[in-house]
Amino acid sequence: MNKAIEVKDLVKTYGSGETAVHALKKVDLNVFEGELLLLLGASGSGKTTLISIIGGILSATSGSCKIRGTEIVGLPQSKLPKVRLDNIGFIFQGFNLFPALTAQENVEITLDLKGIKGRKAKRKSTELLERVGLGDKLKSHPSDLSGGQKQRVAIARALAGEPHIILADEPTAALDSESGKLIMDLLQELAHEQKRSIVVVTHDNRIFDYADRIVEIEDGRIQDAETEKHGDGESLHIPTEMIEQGANA
């Protein structure tokens, strides 16, 4: 399998001297094409920092992070938007839709960034929204949509750029179980059928079953990374603590 994301010895330190905070301490992580990976970790463990660096939003202190073979650590800030635009789609816990725009216009924003405008943009945004089951909500504003519908618009928006990698931050946290299931079905389909690499940061034990692999990050270090793999007959590894948390939930 090809590696879509290749992280090696990644270090991120905020501040310096005695007040320095070491958010990531030599993290190694690979994410493969067509894989749905769950990234678990307590608050402050470094998972948001990690996907921020993978997403090209935050600079690493040292180490390597390759996105489909392109090294992004040390890449000038001016080059990062194109890396993001060409490779990465984001899905946020709070949806981050533009409230002033309709569902269709929210999707068109990504297309606009890619230089796709006019009728072509309309047609494509319609197709994408139909694909996530919102063909009848093209003209609805986010305030008129349910949480699940908003997240589906966000997925359509992320897909509009045809990214190879999707980084999803707590995509189901604000949703009821049915909506969460629908979203995870969609993400799983994108990973397995369209061979996109999907990294989901989550605390939501309801979605563990969707994972091809679960990785836990703790105190800036990956625990049990790449020890178990799903697919190709390999078994799924879930950290014991998370199973206990799930059982207690």
Binding site: I51, I57, V83, F90, A100, I109, L113, G161, D169, A174
Partner: protein, 374 residues
């Protein structure tokens, strides 16, 4: 492309209203204060500015028009000796005492010129004929101060400096910076009212021959006539303005008020736009995460600020122009020349765009956790 800037602006009507109120308040405040400054500045000097003379000759070291020092009228003939002079007339501008028909006293600014010369004579006449000023004791009064002077009709008689005077007409819009309204008459009448000796004058007003170079003529007259200062009309106007605006406490007060008005306006606009931009910071952070370049973000943010500024300015300036029009029906005029209207437009837009650009720094320094967390 869905115009994010335009849609953002009009989506939240309350936020739009708050932004616009800030800009409108600032435009009206700045316009009114600066318009008052211009109005006062003109009130100090309109009599000189509209004198229709090319040059003014004063006694040496006269600081302002109301402070004229008498000199011999013989100097008029020396001025006439210059080949570039077409006409010279004697002129009086001086404070005098006006006794109303009911017997009460008030101060006036007496302006006396020779009607034949067409210099230093009444302008903006709305009632009566200028030729009627040739009648003995005839005066023209500024309508805006008619109540203060206790007259309302042509033919009414008053006293100036103890001499009888008859109102033969009214001007409209010739204001005074001081509490003394302008009253026009002929040089001869003014000489009587003021009690100036027959062979004396306070000023000489000069019309140059066509094509004459005024600075050269000024030098020539300064050489020909001793103990006088010679000014072009604009030099004399500016000297008068500077005296009243900067040499007296009254002018400084107006100036400080105008400067404060402008400053408060600038701060309000900057703060309003900054707040409006920062309100959308998460959206800009999301756009950035999606792969928008800084140029794309700047375009959205600046367009939004530009549109806010444009709408706010249009409404604010419309209000200011109405206020200006109403004020010009009274003695304290708020005057908004087109140059000021244009400058305020530029300033408003610069402030709006400037404030939005400053807030862009927040977008470039955005904490990624802010984008990722709900």
């Amino acid at each position: 492309m869905p115009s994010l800037a335009l849609k953002n602006l009009f989506y939240d009507k309350v936020r739009l209203a708050v932004t616009l109120v800030g800009i409108i308040f600032s435009v009206v405040l700045s316009s009114v204060q600066l318009g008052l400054f211009v109005g006062f500045q003109r009130a100090t000097s309109d009599i000189l500015f509209y004198s229709n003379a090319d040059l003014w000759i004063t006694s040496e070291n006269v600081t302002h028009a109301e402070d004229g020092v008498p000199f011999s009228e013989k100097k008029l003939y020396k001025v006439l000796g210059s080949p570039d002079v077409e006409r010279v007339e004697k002129q009086i501008v001086q404070f005098a005492n006006w006794k109303k028909p009911n017997g009460a006293d008030t101060g006036i600014l007496l302006v006396g010129g020779n009607l034949d010369g067409g210099m230093g004579v009444p302008f903006k006449i709305v009632r009566g004929n200028i030729e009627d000023l040739n009648k003995p004791d005839a005066v023209m009064v500024e309508e805006l101060y008619a109540d203060k002077l206790g007259v309302s009709e042509i033919g009414e008689t008053v006293e100036i400096g103890g001499f009888r005077a008859e109102v033969v007409g009214f001007t409209r819009g010739v204001r005074s910076f001081t509490t003394s309204p302008p009253v026009f008459t002929t040089f001869k009448n003014a000489q009587n009212f003021f009690g100036l000796p027959e062979d004396q004058t306070l000023y000489l007003v000069v019309r140059a021959k066509e094509g004459a170079e005024l600075q050269a003529l000024k030098t020539d007259l300064k050489n020909r006539v001793s103990n006088v200062d010679v000014y072009t009309r604009m030099e004399w106007t500016n000297k008068q303005r500077n005296y009243w605006m900067f040499g007296t406490g009254a002018g400084i007060t107006v100036l400080i008020a105008a400067a404060l008005g402008l400053l408060v306006g600038v701060v309000v606009v900057a703060q309003t736009i900054y707040a409006a931009t920062v309100d959308h910071i998460k959206e800009y952070g999301t756009l950035k995460a999606m792969g928008a370049t800084n140029f794309y973000l700047y375009k959205v943010i600046i367009t939004q600020a530009f549109l806010s500024g444009l709408i706010g300015y249009a409404i604010g300036m419309s209000i200011a122009l109405v206020v200006s029009y109403i004020s010009q029906q009274g003695t304290t005029a708020i005057i908004l020349p087109w140059q000021l209207v244009l400058a305020l437009f530029g300033l408003t837009m610069i402030m709006c765009i400037g404030a939005s650009v400053v807030s862009i720094n927040k977008v470039t320094r955005i904490d990624p956790a802010m984008v990722f967390k709900g």
